[in-house]
């Protein structure tokens, strides 16, 4: 369960992932409340919020940056996901790519999938000014301050960059001082969108390093060869003490999570979002 106002007692949250603790989640069976709490079931959709499309920009031939402005203020962390609902009711999850603004803005990176219902519609038919309904933010893949000197490793493919880029920005803004290594992978150079922005950020922040990886046949200077996850894994002898974020292709996320753990990262320090695509769903 989750408390929407007062924090549950620390004893009720023992063993829970830190990001979930921060969001006031707790297992009901362990909690002896010490103050009043308004509670909600974990996956209860809660309130839907109205939002307007304010910007559409293509970051690469198949990645759309979609910017929404929402009406009611709500809390979120960059890297969490939001469910977007089309007027006909079709729902898909997308990761938040921007840190909270005072202007009620949300940014998403939506990859066009061949015959993908929502993504194709977002790319081709959704227009500036149109209304969408959005859920509140969910998920535990986000940055938490504290342990600012801890090294961070982030790896993702395709639009998995959306939350990772956001998390990097968040960490830097919050003064993370340890090394931050981001690995982004794609088959071809087009898929490595935002690479100029990443490189600029790497110039500006000494502790931030960006490694674009190409797994396809094209060989190019300035790119690492191979899959982002493999390049990331082989970049360090041991990942003991590292905090790791993995986003994108579900099978890769799953396997890499295990490899990262075996290389020494503590399970509590691994945050992962698998971008499951569910063709059976409407």
């Amino acid at each position: 369960m989750r408390s929407l106002d007062n924090a549950p007692p620390a004893s009720a949250q023992a063993g829970l992932k830190d990001t979930l603790q921060q969001q006031n989640y707790f297992p009901a069976c362990l909690c002896r409340p010490e103050q009043n709490m308004t509670v909600q079931m974990p996956n209860q959709q809660g309130i839907w919020i109205q939002a307007n499309v304010v910007k559409k920009q293509w970051l690469s031939p198949d990645i759309l940056r979609l910017v929404l402005e929402y009406e009611t203020k709500f809390n979120f962390f960059v890297g969490q996901l939001i469910n977007l609902k089309r007027p006909d009711g079709l729902i898909r999850s997308y990761s938040i790519a921007n840190i909270p603004h005072h202007e009620n803005i949300l940014e998403f990176h939506i990859r066009r999938l061949p015959d993908g219902q929502f993504s194709t519609w977002a790319h081709d038919e959704l227009e500036i000014g149109m209304e969408l309904t959005i859920s509140q933010a969910q998920g535990s893949c986000h940055y938490l301050p504290g342990r600012a000197e801890q090294p961070l490793l982030l790896a993702g493919t395709g639009s998995g960059l959306a939350p990772l880029w956001g998390i990097v920005t968040d960490a830097l803004v919050k003064g993370h001082s340890g090394p931050i290594h981001l690995f982004h992978g794609s088959r071809d150079p087009d898929g490595l969108y935002l690479r100029d922005e990443m490189r600029e950020m790497a110039m500006e922040f000494e502790n931030f390093r960006y490694t674009p990886c190409l797994s396809g046949d094209t060989a190019a200077a300035d790119y690492a060869r191979g899959r982002a996850y493999e390049v990331a894994l082989s970049s360090a002898q041991s990942l003991k003490g590292w905090r790791v974020y993995l986003c994108g292709h579900p099978e890769m996320v799953k396997q890499t999570r295990k490899m990262v753990y075996l290389k020494g990262a503590s399970m509590n320090d691994i945050y992962a979002d698998a971008f499951h695509v569910n063709p059976a769903e409407k």
Binding site: L262, S266, N268
Partner: protein
């Protein structure tokens, strides 16, 4: 902790080792060892990591003498399908070895390690369905 434990003056083994936080620290090390141990990792392959980890915690809590509700029959049922996969004494010994190495890595004193080993050892016949 349960009421029965509060009434004893002596600290329980579970408390001496460090209670739930010690389980939390141990599971990370122990589960990694198990997954990397070629003698036994095949038993742990096809399961979801989060579920596995929860079960490893149950195992460690039990071995540390902590609060749990497992009976001998539960142990038999939990491991019955691994018997069909060939689970035997050699695998049990490997788990014991990983358990001991984990506690050593955490600097748990030898006499406590021996107590933990004794508890785990006492489940051998149930785990191996004998």
């Amino acid at each position: 902790m349960s009421a029965t434990q509060d009434t004893t003056l002596n600290e329980t083994l579970f408390d001496k080792i460090g209670g739930a936080p010690a389980v939390e620290a141990a599971v990370d090390i122990f589960y990694r060892k198990v997954l990397m141990d070629y003698r036994i990792n095949r038993f742990f392959e096809n399961t979801d990591m989060d579920t596995q980890r929860a079960k490893q915690k149950a195992f460690l809590t039990m071995a540390f003498g902590g609060p749990n509700n497992y009976t001998g029959t539960d142990m038999r049922n939990a491991h019955a399908r691994f018997i069909k996969m060939g689970l035997d004494d050699s695998h049990f010994d490997a788990v014991m070895e990983n358990l001991g190495a984990t506690l050593e890595e955490l600097d748990v004193p030898q006499e406590l390690i021996a107590e933990v080993a004794a508890i785990a050892e006492s489940t051998r016949n149930d785990v191996l369905n004998r």
